[in-house]
């Protein structure tokens, strides 16, 4: 069993065979940095619990394609802030399937939005000049319809 410590001090136990779905954890184990427990300063307790839920399900139900599909669909039905936390955790922990699932979910959520709406969600400043922006919209007018 491997012990994981979240950024806010929560402790989680998980089987090594399940934990190595995270390439980051796998490398830490291989490099022998995991004798007592593995500190994960970039992931809080709530998010780490959800991530562990994902990798446990994917380890135990590996061959049940239909079951995993419906699990994944339910798994991403969370509020946006939580989803973003899970993406950051999946990226930091290098869990390919979870990153794939969550990035696809975000892509699906934003695909019909306007540029302004996307900026609002990601809290991004528009650094194009009005002329540059006008040119972009003109060059790709069909995409802005």
């Amino acid at each position: 069993m491997i012990v994981l410590n979240s950024s806010d001090g929560a402790t989680f136990e998980v089987e090594e065979s399940v934990a190595v779905q995270s390439q980051t954890i796998k490398h830490m184990i291989e490099d022998n940095c995991a004798d007592t427990s593995i500190p994960l300063p970039n992931v809080n307790g709530v998010t780490l619990a959800r991530v562990l839920e994902y990798i446990k399900k994917h380890a135990e139900a590996k061959d049940d394609e239909e079951g995993l599909k419906s699990f994944d669909a339910e798994f991403v039905k969370v509020d946006q802030a939580s989803l973003f936390e899970i993406i950051l955790a999946a990226n930091y922990l290098d869990i390919k399937g979870l990153l794939d699932l969550t990035c696809q979910t975000v892509a699906d959520q934003i695909k019909d939005l306007t540029v302004e709406e996307v900026r609002a969600i990601f809290n991004i400043m528009n650094d194009f000049t009005p002329e540059e922006e006008a040119k972009l919209r003109n060059d790709h007018a069909w995409a802005f319809e």
């Binding site: 950051l88 794939d100 990035c103 934003i110 990601f122 991004i124 400043m125 972009l136 790709h140």
Partner: protein, 363 residues
């Protein structure tokens, strides 16, 4: 700290790139304009590579739906296992065209009114290019009807180049047709056509409907005689043949189709009750393996008019006269993805192509 009010200041660049790469092309074109960083992330070779790897997982079928009762232009339907069915048009080309070949997200189209005029386009990004005329005189010497017998499009994702191939028998003046086989190859890097001539033993009069596959630097066609594949190696302009699996015979009632399966050549054989799927896993040794034998019992009535168009290791898209179906190999389920509403259209299989959405540029 209140979790739900937390606003994230940033995502790492590689996460943004992964999200952008999963957007449909139209949304990507718009959403990359959010800021300079996103615009940069969505350009460049690494992004193209990630986008391409993702699109390989999602093969589609492109069908031209023609309403023969009215004079209106035909529309294109794209059937996608992930997103369903959507309609789009090639009107950005501003000419009436027919799709002749499809490869890695690009289409090769020929002009309907102007014989000999060809276009290459990416229907997702709406870029297109009219190719220069090949050096043949306006009335071409292709036999039997002046139209190239074989048409192929080869898009090399590594070098970002593409080739268009037109080939056919040569019709010399006043004599019976010889075995002379003319091949015209357009190269996007030089923007020129080159021509070479060879001799062919088999006389074949047509390529099997839209059945051309680009793999390992070569174009492969299944010809009407169905005994072998005709292969053009584009690196050295050499023709050769690849034999079909021994067990595949062309007796009446057995139909054979050439497709791609996850980067390998695949041949699908349809008899009254079975669909056999062969894949050439070892291209060097030219060895075929039967990877699946599908019972056609539950679609028995449709068998005479069913044509496989594209596939992955997990599912096969097929077209009939009026429908596009998908068959899931693992759980053996047939599903109708699309059905023509209008009764007076040409058969869908007539103009169905394997397709996938890429951002490959035709310039």
């Amino acid at each position: 700290m209140d979790q739900s009010n937390q606003r994230l200041d940033f995502f790492p660049d590689d996460v943004i790139l992964q999200i952008l790469a999963r957007l449909p092309v139209k949304a990507l074109t718009r959403i990359k304009c959010v800021c300079k960083l996103w615009y940069q992330l969505a350009s460049g070779d690494y992004f193209r590579h990630v986008h391409n790897e993702l699109s390989i997982r999602n093969p589609m079928v492109l069908v031209e739906v023609t309403d023969t009762s009215s004079e209106s232009r035909s529309s294109l339907i794209c059937v996608d296992n992930l997103r369903g069915v959507y309609e789009f048009s090639l009107d950005f080309i501003k000419a009436r065209v027919k799709v002749r070949a499809s490869c890695n997200g690009l289409l090769c189209c020929s002009s309907i009114p102007d014989k000999g005029v060809y276009y290459v386009c990416n229907p997702m990004t709406r870029e297109y290019k009219m190719l220069p005329r090949s050096r043949e005189r306006p009335v071409t010497r292709f036999y039997p009807d002046g139209e190239a017998t074989l048409v192929g499009l080869a898009c090399n994702l590594l070098t970002h180049n593409y080739n268009v191939v037109l080939a056919g028998y040569h019709r010399p003046f006043g004599h019976r047709p010889e075995r002379t086989f003319i091949c015209l190859v357009y190269d996007s890097e030089s923007n020129k056509w080159r021509k070479f001539v060879s001799l062919q033993d088999d006389h074949f009069t047509h390529m099997n409907r839209n059945q051309v596959v680009f793999i390992n630097g070569s174009l492969h066609w299944l010809t009407g005689s169905c005994t072998c594949l005709l292969v053009l190696d584009l690196e050295c302009d050499m023709w050769r043949r690849i034999l079909l699996p021994n067990e595949v015979n062309c007796a009446v009632g057995n139909r054979v189709y050439l497709l791609e399966s996850e980067g390998c050549l695949s041949v699908i054989q349809i008899s009254e009750a079975w669909m056999n799927i062969w894949v050439m896993k070892d291209y060097e040794r030219e060895e075929w393996h039967m990877v699946d034998k599908v019972s056609l019992r539950c679609i028995r009535g449709m068998v005479p008019g069913i044509f496989p168009i594209s596939q992955t290791g997990e599912y096969v898209f097929l077209a009939t006269h009026k429908q596009v179906l998908v068959y899931q190999l693992k759980n053996k389920v047939w599903k109708e993805m699309y059905s023509v509403k209008n009764s007076s259209t040409l058969p869908l299989w007539f103009s169905a192509h394997a397709f996938r959405s890429t951002i490959f540029s035709c310039h």
